[in-house]
Amino acid sequence: MGKGDFIARAWRALLYGLMTLFVVNIGLMIAAVATNSVARRWLGTWLPEGWTTSWYLAAWKEFQLGDVLLVTIEVVFAVVFLALLIGVPAAYTLARREFVGKRLLMLVFLLPLMVPPITYGIPLATVLYKAHLAGTIYGVILANLIPAAPFVILVMTPFIEQIDPNLESAARVFGASTGRMFLHVLVPLLAPGILAASLLVLVRTIAMFELTFLTAGADSQTLVVALYYAVFAAGVRAPQSVDAMAMVYMGVTLVWLLIALRFVNPTQLVSRVKEHPQPA
């Protein structure tokens, strides 16, 4: 008993140690970027020689951050809206009905999440170039919808299964059409799920590099792609202004993730569960 106890305790300590190592190093890594973004000159010392905020202004002007942020917002909100518009009804059908070819359809919806984005991104970019959509903001939105719509379906299905089908039957009895039933019964009940799905799609779309990278043109870059080009074409640019931009990027995603975590318990993303009973 004593020996087992010791091993269990050592195991816990090891895990906590690893977690601390992970968190501390990442924290310091972010701190390094943050420090560099407000540093005048920083070469091989503990702290930079002087402080300045001018890199943020430089980054804003140099990388046209205003335009990039505007494009990012347009793309992200269009993707969230369209993904919900086609995803939620599809999730409803998949949760409530059995039909021929349902398994095949589920597979089609699961594949974009299981295949690397580059694999379908390159043929997709070729098709979009043929259709004169690549390089425009519409192409970027369409490309980002491919993983977003299945993701909405995946997240929404358990939420829909939780709703008592009798409510829908009641709405039917009173003569509601599918559309009205959806609008007046399902959407209000699904609000938490819709919120969760849209926030997660939002965070994912902000961070989606590959698809945007493959389909964006010069004036349809989102923040993450503009950031990549800024680093990749570095040399002429001060690393500090790249770091300033990276901090802006982190700020943007972090705000949305924290909002998302406020509404979505991270432990309930995939499967719905009972509350854990407190040990007596």
């Binding site: 087992g4 269990a8 816990r12 895990l15 690893l18 992970f22 990442i26 310091l28 890594m29 390094a32 970027v33 560099n36 091989g44 086609i86 995803g87 009804p89 409530r96 009905r97 059995e98 359809l105 089609v108 919806f109 974009p112 999440l113 295949v115 690397p116 984005p117 580059i118 694999t119 379908y120 390159i122 997709l124 070729t126 369409l142 919808l145 491919i146 719509a149 299945p150 089908p165 965070v203 590099f209 993450v224 990549y228 990749f232 770091d243 990276a246 982190m250 972090l254 993730l257 975590l261 318990n265 991270p266 432990t267 993303l269 995939v270 499967s271 719905r272 569960v273 854990h276 407190q278």
Partner: protein, 291 residues
């Protein structure tokens, strides 16, 4: 529940089925069609016979080794991520005051984005970064520190960006297992280790396989960090770099599609292997224990 729904709402004509149509049409047009188009394109090279692209891939010295380069990065990264996430998530399954805080802190690195991780690692892990200065201050290690612009750098960045995702997913699967089962086991005298071995692990197997596949996709399609943190000409020349170069530097969409197809094929082999391994190790209900 869904069976009851099917019965209750069967009465009116099933126009509900049409609700799935827009999403299905969308996937057909923008996922299936480009995929098939790419597949056909890969077999119709501008010069040579229908297999020319694939022959070129497997005989060119800077193309075919990219498969191994990618696997050598993606497999260890995925194993580390899932292997670390599983015990930590298992420890976090019990609801406590700190549970939500710790999970939030562990999940936050998702927001960092590859470029910030790359920049941060170049600054922090670099030869003159804080880590090097700290280690030299304590005289723990005086040699040159090379954690960036090589294999290690890309691997670390894959762990930083991949771990939170694996952790989140496994945590949600673990908390989805009915705790009553574990309490029944503990009544019969099973400690946490026996509970894990005989209750959680078998029930987690499908979720774990899924998580491994999703984490692997993420690591496998590594592109920005391999360029920014690795040595994209040599040891971290991953397959997505080869595909990108073919498409946007040589404008050979046919070859690029072939590389993309090979990439997807290798990915599917790994997924099939993982799923096969799962069913070989454990046979039982595909999903169990959900509340």
């Amino acid at each position: 529940m869904s069976a009851a729904g099917t019965l209750a709402a069967r009465a009116p004509t099933d126009r509900v089925l049409w609700l799935v149509a827009p999403a299905a049409m969308f996937m057909l047009l923008l996922f299936i069609y480009p995929f098939v188009y790419g597949l056909i394109l890969s077999f119709t090279p501008p010069q040579g016979d229908w297999l020319a692209n694939y022959r070129k891939f497997f005989t060119t010295d800077n193309l075919w080794p990219t498969i191994w380069t990618t696997l050598k990065l993606a497999l260890p990264a995925t194993i580390i991520n899932v292997g670390l996430a599983l015990p930590i998530a298992f420890m976090m399954r019990v609801k406590s005051r700190y549970q939500r805080w710790i999970t939030t802190i562990l999940v936050v690195p998702i927001t960092l984005g590859t470029v910030l991780i790359a920049e941060g690692m170049l600054t922090y892990f670099g030869p003159k970064g804080w880590l090097a200065q700290f280690l030299q201050l304590l005289h723990l290690y005086d040699g040159p520190i090379r954690l960036t612009h090589n294999y290690t750098g890309v691997l670390i960045s894959l762990v930083i960006s991949g771990f939170p995702f694996a952790f989140l997913l496994i945590l949600s699967y673990i908390t989805g297992i009915d705790p009553v089962l574990a309490r029944a086991a503990s009544t019969l005298g099973a400690g946490p280790r026996e509970q894990f071995r005989h209750i959680y692990l078998p029930l987690l197997a499908p979720g774990l396989a899924m998580c491994f596949c999703l984490a692997f996709v993420q690591a496998y399609s590594v592109f920005p960090s391999a360029v920014l943190l690795g040595a994209p000409a040599g040891p971290t020349r991953v397959i997505s770099i080869a595909a990108y170069e073919a498409a946007f530097e040589q404008y050979d969409y046919s070859l690029a599609s072939a590389i993309a197809m090979i990439m997807g094929f290798v990915q599917l082999i790994i997924v099939a292997a993982v799923l096969g391994l799962r069913s070989a190790l454990y046979r039982g209900p595909v999903s169990g224990g959900k509340g």
